[in-house]
């Protein structure tokens, strides 16, 4: 429970800071300290050294898998603030409040990784969503940001409605909010799952797919990601999205087999649709930011494989995927924020002006494309291998690989622009040395994980 409480406490502390202190740098440093403490607290709980305990009447359960993901999410946020902190405080006038919201989101993250009842899941999802609506609209003078926030809010509210309906149906069938559900029971001579429970779970699953931007519930993604301030897009496309997948895995694991043969149709359908829409549409984007939005849909398609496989390898794979995808995307966005022109042409000739930055971006892009020797490769490998283990059809893997190949096209356009085209690649400001250093650390981490992915897992089950 450390992560939930400490993040909430730091959220409140940041609120106090916002009216006691009037210095943007202080907010940033305070956030960095807070995240470090949060990380430490979570690690202490992971290794059962120290933890705050309240009797939650089995509504929360803390397992190593979830706690480990907490650490990943918190560490990623810490890296994110270290890298883009200056851009966060610059979005609008409420610098401290942005950090408040980020802390609250982390509270929601730790709820989703540890929920044991649907009520907690709902609270977690909402605690994540509401701050995101606000962060999306935080660039108040920008019409696009406002539009994106409103769209996100409307559709998010709709999906919340679906989720509540799902929980209600499930409650009706089971009689409580428990994660386990009732499963197969006797109905007049035949053994089957209650229709109400399945319908409830289906709606719940759909509303979470919406949050994870899996097709065909992805429509909000490109518009919102493009409209939101880039720093916050980076946050919601990575850490938050990965969290939703963890939530889905927990849910489906607890109610395994409930969909029966339906699962064999719906999930492959969603995977193929997500991969197709994400990749194919990304090909024709001119704006790097919009391309990244579609690419995040495409990456979600790969993460869906973990739901399909539902085995230990899939669980490990999703952790690696979250790390690889988060590091790479946060890194690219951090550079993108500094660019004057968000189109591919805006990156022309970046390699000549900023060799280190361009090289790091190249590594990020290679990792997203899943090229060997980067973490992205092993992430994709784990996803596909775990699916094979669970008996996925070969055609599904072929589709995945083909779309991974398509993704190379649009990812490499960025490399092409940076390295092989002449241009000015103007930036708002020259990147500082610490910024470049952080970027390089991101890139090195990706490569290290690409060479020895077991470094990450060695800390999961030892």
């Amino acid at each position: 429970m450390n992560a939930i409480i400490v993040s909430a406490v730091f959220g409140v502390l940041m609120m106090f800071a916002s009216f006691l202190v009037n210095n943007k740098n202080v907010y940033r440093y305070l956030a960095i300290i807070g995240l470090s403490v949060l990380l430490l607290a979570n690690i202490l709980e992971t290794y059962a050294i120290w933890s705050i305990k309240f009797d939650s009447f089995l509504q929360l359960s803390f397992e190593r898998f979830g706690l480990f993901f907490n650490s990943i999410a918190i560490a990623a946020t810490l890296f994110y603030v270290l890298l883009s902190g200056k851009d966060i405080v610059r979005v609008g006038n409420y610098s401290a409040e942005y950090f408040v919201l980020i802390f609250f989101i982390l509270c929601g993250v730790s709820l989703i990784t540890s929920y044991n009842s649907l009520l907690m899941l709902f609270l977690g999802i909402e605690i994540i969503s509401i701050p995101l609506y606000i962060l999306t609209g935080s660039d108040k003078k920008n019409l696009k940001s406002n539009e994106a926030a409103l769209k996100y809010f409307l559709m998010g509210a709709f999906s919340t409605g679906l989720m509540l309906m799902g929980i209600a149906l499930s409650y009706g069938a089971v009689g409580n909010f428990g994660l386990e559900g009732r499963g197969v029971v006797a109905f007049g001579g035949s053994m089957r799952v209650s229709f109400l429970e399945v319908a409830g779970l289906l709606l719940l699953f759909i509303s979470m797919s919406f949050k994870a931007s899996a097709a065909p519930f992805h429509f909000w993604t490109p518009d919102v990601y493009e409209g939101a301030p880039s720093v916050f897009t980076s946050f919601m496309a990575t850490i938050v999205k990965a969290t939703v997948f963890i939530g889905m895995i927990k849910l489906l694991e607890a109610r395994t087999g409930i969909f029966g043969p339906t699962w064999q149709i719906i999930l492959p359908l969603m995977i193929v649709l997500t991969l197709a829409i994400g990749n194919i549409t990304a090909v024709f984007q001119q704006s790097v930011k919009r391309m990244l939005a579609y690419s995040s849909i495409a990456q979600a398609g790969f993460m869906l494989f973990a739901l399909w496989s539902a085995n230990d390898m899939g669980r490990e794979g999703i952790l690696l995927y979250s790390v690889a995808y988060t590091l790479a995307t946060v890194g690219i966005f951090a550079v993108l924020v500094k660019m004057k022109d968000y189109t591919f042409d805006g990156f022309n000739g970046l390699a000549a002006k900023q060799p280190l930055v361009a090289a790091s971006v190249a590594v990020f892009v290679l990792s997203l494309a899943g090229i060997p020797l980067t973490a992205g490769f092993f992430a994709k490998y784990f996803m596909l291998a775990s699916a094979i283990k669970s008996g996925a059809g070969v055609w599904l893997l072929v589709v995945a690989v083909v779309f991974a190949a398509v993704s190379v096209y649009y990812y490499f356009r960025l490399i092409q622009a940076m390295y092989f085209k002449e241009g000015e690649a103007e930036m708002f400001e020259q990147p500082t040395n610490s910024f470049k250093g952080m970027l390089a650390i991101f890139a090195v981490l990706l490569i290290v994980l690409g060479i020895a992915p077991s470094l990450l897992f060695n800390y999961l089950y030892f």
């Binding site: 409140v12 609120m15 408040v100 606000i134 007049g188 319908a199």
Partner: protein, 167 residues
């Protein structure tokens, strides 16, 4: 037919008609008023189920506070039927079809659910909705969710400040 049954059907009809009218009314103010009516109908249902506290809270919070706020907002923005954007008939038809399909599958879903057959709502009896029971539950079993929802409200408040305050 007993008086409770008559009341039940009346309230159900009122809630459904009210909800439909919320969507169908051209004038936003009318929509809000229909929504208030719906809330009252639902509160009536609560009372039928011996949940007086929920009924009162529903009226005070939803029908009272939130709806009044809605009305103020709508009046301040001077919304009326003319301000509403016209949608093409294609879109309207598609919407009706999609919504109709959705309703159909949900209805058929409930009808398929065998365990609901022959069961009736618990009326006039039961003490779950009583304030004492609610309090006991809320401060024992549901303390943690209850406290955590404060984070949710806090973030909504912060959001309201960030979005709403003048720069």
């Amino acid at each position: 037919m007993s008086i409770t049954e008559i009341l039940f059907w009346f309230l159900s009809a009122l809630a459904l008609v009210g909800a439909l009218m919320v969507v169908l009314s051209r004038n936003p103010v009318h929509s809000v008023l229909w929504l208030v009516a719906t809330f009252f109908a639902i509160s009536g249902h609560y009372i039928l189920m011996n949940a007086q506290f929920l009924a009162i809270v529903n009226i005070i919070v939803y029908a009272g506070a939130i709806m009044v706020l809605f009305l103020f907002v709508i009046m301040l923005m001077n919304l009326n039927s003319e301000a509403e954007p016209r949608k093409s008939w294609m879109m309207q038809l598609a919407g009706v079809l999609a919504g109709g399909c959705f309703m159909m599958v949900l209805v058929s879903l409930v009808r398929q659910t065998a365990e609901l057959g022959g069961k009736t709502a618990l009326v006039k009896e039961g003490n779950i909705g009583l304030i004492k029971q609610l309090g006991m539950k809320l401060f024992s079993e549901y303390t943690v969710p209850f406290e955590i929802s404060s984070v949710l409200f806090l973030s909504a408040m912060v959001g309201a400040v960030v979005i709403g305050k003048k720069d």
